[in-house]
């Protein structure tokens, strides 16, 4: 195979894959619209179950990582700020970093690892067992039946997990600073002063968007599972890797767009 032919085959395959993804997004949009007009068709039970698994079951690890992140960041920054005897500004730094960026990102990455991979594995197993075919021939589109409830669950779970991770991070910072003899009241006063409603809700909106990405990418990886021995495993891996890349890229895009629009202030 010559290099040109290889390039041709490669781009044809990539275009094909792109088409499949676009078709998935399109179908999901159509089914979402259809569900808006026929809300009774929404699989509320499945959504509740997926939500419970994504949020409550993921709580310990999310809160734990958030807390440790707060502790680590507080230590690092306190070391620098100590030179100017302004350790208390760690509170401002932590609040801004957590609410705007780290809270949503860390939570989304944990969600990708726990929930995105689970979505891909569940749907992938169903595909290998011909359950997706069974749904289709029963006239129940897998996208409506399996994807919508899961994506909705991921979108709803994200803000809850994010808020808790952020609070845990701030508590971690408070503990570090109190060990450095910064009074806790002063710490929380700084946090309260620097945090604006706009900043917090911007972070939460972003976290819901990340939830959408994780849900869509996880489910689409599951639907594309191949019926080979390692098919389900590869689907789960694809879900996690794809989600993390998408989260990082979209976070960058959002930051740039806001910068260009001059909206860094919120």
């Amino acid at each position: 195979m010559g290099p040109l032919e290889r390039l041709g085959r490669f781009s044809a395959a990539k275009f094909g894959e792109f088409g499949v993804r676009m078709a998935f997004i399109g179908e999901t949009l159509c089914e979402t619209l259809a569900t808006v007009f026929h809300p009774r068709r929404f699989r509320l039970g499945d959504c509740a179950l997926a939500f419970e698994r994504a949020s409550f079951d993921g709580l310990p690890v999310t809160v734990g990582v958030g807390f440790l992140l707060g502790v680590i960041l507080a230590f690092q920054c306190a070391a620098a700020l100590e030179m100017f005897a302004v350790e208390v500004y760690v509170a401002d730094m932590l609040a801004i970093a957590l609410f705007r960026e780290l809270g949503p990102i860390i939570t989304a990455i944990i969600l990708a690892g726990r929930t995105g991979s689970a979505f891909a594995a569940e749907i992938g197993t169903m595909k290998v067992n011909e359950e997706l075919d069974a749904l289709t021939t029963m006239g129940l589109p897998p996208v409506r039946f399996l994807v919508l409830p899961r994506v909705m669950a991921a979108i709803l779970a994200m803000p809850i997990l994010t808020v808790l991770a952020e609070l845990a991070g701030l508590v971690g910072g408070a503990i570090v600073l109190s060990a450095m003899r910064v009074p806790t009241e002063v710490y929380w006063a700084h946090v309260e002063k620097i945090s604006t409603a706009g900043m917090i809700s911007f972070g939460l909106a972003k976290s819901m968007f990340f939830g959408l990405l994780v849900g869509l990418i996880g489910c689409s990886a599951g639907l594309r599972t191949k019926s080979t021995a390692d098919g389900v495993g590869s689907a789960a891996t694809a879900a996690v890797v794809g989600s993390i890349v998408a989260i990082a890229s979209w976070d960058g895009i959002i930051a740039v767009v806001l910068y260009v629009w001059g909206m860094m202030g919120i």
Partner: protein, 250 residues
């Protein structure tokens, strides 16, 4: 069998997947109320042709129609309601009990109240002799039971045609015999058409009105007719060897 009209027609169908033709130029009719068997070695394309018939994959070329309707965006909803499918693996939904599996089509497509749906679902499970497995999860019952639940689910909306992909594969002879009895009884009770993929010679002679046989090496259909006629009169060595010894090479 007395004169009856065709419910499924294949004419000059090339079966396969985009870029891979598996079976060439396949033509046959399946009559209303018939038990029709798809036969052939493993990997010869029986499931492939079944997937064309149930509208999962479009045929590569030729015409495949159910009651005069070809699969397409406009006919899909209508045709889907007229068929029931049991997959090779059963394909029960693992997160639902057996009863919920059977009730799922009723929930989505009938206007029955919950109590009536439960009644109907229980009736279906009883008709496959699994009334006592209603609240079990699919993982808690045996392979043969799972296939019977899958048959009950395929029958839920009273389809005109029921497709069964290898209902007796991996089952012991007793269970497999019971499954044949079940198919015959359901046909007698409800007059449905059955399209069945199977290798079991005893089961073929017991239930089949006609069979179509495929050969992987030749990539097409090699025989069509009643099992008795095929056993007695086929001049194809491949077909003769199968019906006389029950072996398929390929």
């Amino acid at each position: 069998m007395e004169r009856s009209d065709a419910i499924i027609t294949l004419s000059h169908v090339n079966a396969g997947y985009p870029g891979a033709v598996i079976l060439r130029d396949v033509s046959f009719d399946i009559m209303r109320g018939e038990i029709f068997i798809l036969l052939g070695g493993s990997g010869c394309g029986k499931s492939t042709i079944l997937k064309h018939m149930i509208g999962l994959n479009p045929v590569l070329s030729g015409r495949l129609a159910i009651d005069g309707l070809e699969w397409g965006p406009k006919t899909r909803a209508q045709l889907t309601r007229r068929i029931g499918v049991m997959y090779q693996s059963g394909a029960l939904f693992g997160s639902m009990t057996c009863l919920e599996n059977v009730m799922l089509p009723l929930e989505e497509f009938s206007k029955l109240k919950r109590r009536e749906r439960v009644e109907r679902g229980m009736g279906l499970l009883k008709s496959v002799e699994l009334g006592d497995a209603a609240d079990k999860m699919p993982s808690e019952i045996s392979g043969g039971m799972r296939k019977r639940v899958a048959i009950a689910r395929a029958m839920a909306l009273d389809p005109e045609v029921v497709f069964l992909d290898e209902p007796s594969a991996g089952l012991d002879p007793v269970t497999s015999y019971a499954l044949d009895e079940l198919i015959l009884r359901l046909r007698a009770e409800r007059g449905m058409t059955f399209v069945v993929v199977t290798h079991e010679l005893p089961s073929i002679f017991k239930i089949a009105d006609r069979a179509a046989m495929f050969d992987k090496a030749r990539g097409g259909m090699v025989a069509l007719g009643s099992p008795k006629a095929l056993k007695a009169g086929s001049d194809d060595p491949f077909v003769r060897s199968f019906f006389n010894r029950g072996e398929v090479h390929g």
